[in-house]
């Protein structure tokens, strides 16, 4: 099948500003199929978020191209939605009006999307809070609102930059399970950045492990375990194996990758 997102030979070096000269990404090649859930994991500073921003069209790569449905991405597109670590809700708007923001900006049909917004809020269990202000909600609820907002205009691609990282461990697990459920109902192509191995195991079709300085793809792990998945005692052998492999890759990086970076990256790409 033709991939929906094609990342070809993308390198990025920051110019100007605080991080000037930092070599954030080096020759990233990645293809993402339609409705695939790809999770990027890696340590801080391995360029995960930078890659996400390049795919979003918020940042131009210094080298290489990203294309989406065979069109080169040069600027943000309405069929791509972004979700951040911080909910980025507008504090002066109600929950409902926050969800409707993309509809207003993209000048879509309001009556139609009002119904959709209600349905999304119901889906995330927020229907009672639609008139609340964001500051009246807990962190987890705020992220749910942000998710509704990201889905309201029915984008093809959802880019999520550590969306649950600012939440406590329990809420975080809750939301990962909920995202799994929502994704089952509304299939999207998702590129999801996280530090959490658990989230990666729970959500991903493929896990892309990145290594830092410069950001490279160290390894790509595929997960076949059917959904809904759960971790802990119910985890399948595959999930346990991949979990072990991820720990190995993320924690032994100093030994394998930095010692012989070229060989390590090449081997990873071959695997």
């Amino acid at each position: 099948m033709e991939p929906l997102i094609r990342i070809e030979d993308v390198s990025h070096v920051f110019r100007g500003g605080r991080r000037s000269g930092v070599h954030a990404l080096d020759a990233i090649d990645l293809e993402i199929a339609e409705n695939e859930f790809v999770v990027l994991v890696g340590r801080s500073g391995c360029g995960k978020s930078t890659l996400l921003r390049i795919v979003a069209g918020l940042l131009r790569a210094t080298q290489g191209t990203v294309s989406l449905a065979d069109e080169v991405v040069t600027s943000p597109r309405p069929d791509v939605s972004l979700m951040f670590q911080r909910s980025a809700l507008l504090p002066w708007r109600s929950v409902f009006d926050n969800v409707m923001l993309p509809v207003e900006i993209l000048k879509l049909d309001k009556t139609l999307h009002r119904v959709k917004a209600e349905a999304l809020l119901r889906l995330t269990g927020l229907d009672e809070f639609s008139e609340s202000r964001p500051y009246e909600l807990s962190g987890g609820m705020q992220q749910r609102v942000a998710l509704c907002r990201a889905l309201i205009h029915d984008p093809d691609v959802l880019l999520m930059d550590e969306p649950f990282a600012a939440l406590d461990a329990l809420t975080r697990e809750d939301l990962s399970l909920e995202l799994q459920r929502i994704w089952n109902e509304h299939r999207k192509t998702i590129l999801f950045v996280t530090h959490s191995i658990q989230e990666a195991l729970l959500l991903a079709d493929r896990i892309v492990v990145m290594s830092p300085r410069p950001g490279r793809i160290a390894s790509i792990l595929e997960l076949k375990t059917p959904r809904p998945r759960s971790l802990g005692v119910d985890a399948t052998d595959e999930l346990n194996d991949v979990s072990a492999r991820l720990h190995e890759l993320l924690f032994a990086r100093d030994l394998t990758i930095e010692a012989e970076p070229a060989a390590g990256a090449a081997a990873a790409r071959d695997s």
């Binding site: 918020l58 600027s75 943000p76 939605s81 972004l82 911080r86 923001l101 900006i105």
Partner: protein
């Protein structure tokens, strides 16, 4: 919360109704706070509200009392420090003068203030959006603000005569600056994630401004407006001091008025 506790502590201590319970040293403050909150919480809230209004009033009465006492004890001549009673009698004597002059000053203040907002907000928007204007207009504004307005006031009178014009101009000049600074700062400090969010939705600059940047800057803008309104009153009074035939500052400064240069007309 701490405010409520403090006020209730005051009530409790005054009436002496709730002696602190003996408690372990570590818990002492906690226990006290709980004990001193009156058991009937509604009554507690009512006394809290009463105190909140009563305390400032009492403070003012106390200050006037100190003033009166000082006049009595020190025996200053009344033309140096009049007693509160003298001031009050004078006020009653001339009370028919007040409304007209207050009205004039208020008019100058509000006109100047509104004009200042009308100029300051667009200037702030330009500063916030253009590096070039920030590098050119901003330093000029800072320099302009460093000039004492009272020194410029006579020039305005030469330019504009003795009508309300120069007073309004001084009001504009004096409250323009804080409004510009606050608004520009507010517009430039939109949280990054909000900017990125609207960018990712390909919002036009106009949409970006009205949907996110302007509303996000409002807390800053209102700080500027708050500072501005107090300065506006000062500006109007300064303008009247320097040259005016009516307004609240005229009756208190006859000599200042006669000393200012007359216009040629």
């Amino acid at each position: 919360m701490s405010k409520v506790t403090r006020l209730d502590e005051g009530v409790g201590a005054a009436s002496g109704a709730h002696p602190p319970l003996p408690a372990a040293a570590g818990e002492a403050t906690n226990v006290q706070a709980i004990v001193l909150l009156p058991p009937e919480s509604r009554l507690g809230r009512v006394t809290g509200t009463v105190w909140r209004f009563l305390l400032p009033v009492l403070t003012i009465f106390a200050l006037v009392g100190v003033w009166w006492l000082a006049v009595l004890v020190m025996d200053w001549p009344p033309y140096v420090v009049p007693s509160p009673a003298d001031v009050w009698n004078e006020f009653l004597d001339k009370r028919e003068l007040l409304p007209e002059h207050v009205w004039t000053t208020l008019g100058e203040t509000l006109q100047g203030y509104l004009l200042a907002i009308a100029i300051a907000v667009p200037v702030a928007v330009m500063i916030a959006y253009s590096r070039f204007l920030e590098a050119t207009i901003y330093p000029a504004l800072v320099a302009l603000n460093a000039i004492p307005k009272i020194a410029i006031a006579p020039i305005f009178i030469i330019w504009m005569g003795f009508g309300p014009g120069p007073k309004i101009a001084i009001v504009v000049l004096i409250c323009f600056f804080p409004i510009v600074i606050a608004t520009a700062t507010g517009l430039k400090s939109t949280p990054d994630e909000l900017v990125e969010l609207v960018r990712s939705l390909s919002a036009s600059p106009i949409q970006q401004f009205f949907k996110v940047r302007l509303p996000a800057s409002l807390p800053y803008v209102f700080v500027g407006l708050k500072v501005g309104i107090t300065l506006a009153v000062i500006g109007a009074v300064v303008g009247e001091f320097v040259g005016a035939t009516e307004g609240s500052a005229t009756s208190s400064s006859p000599r200042v008025r006669t000393r200012t240069p007359r216009s040629r007309s």
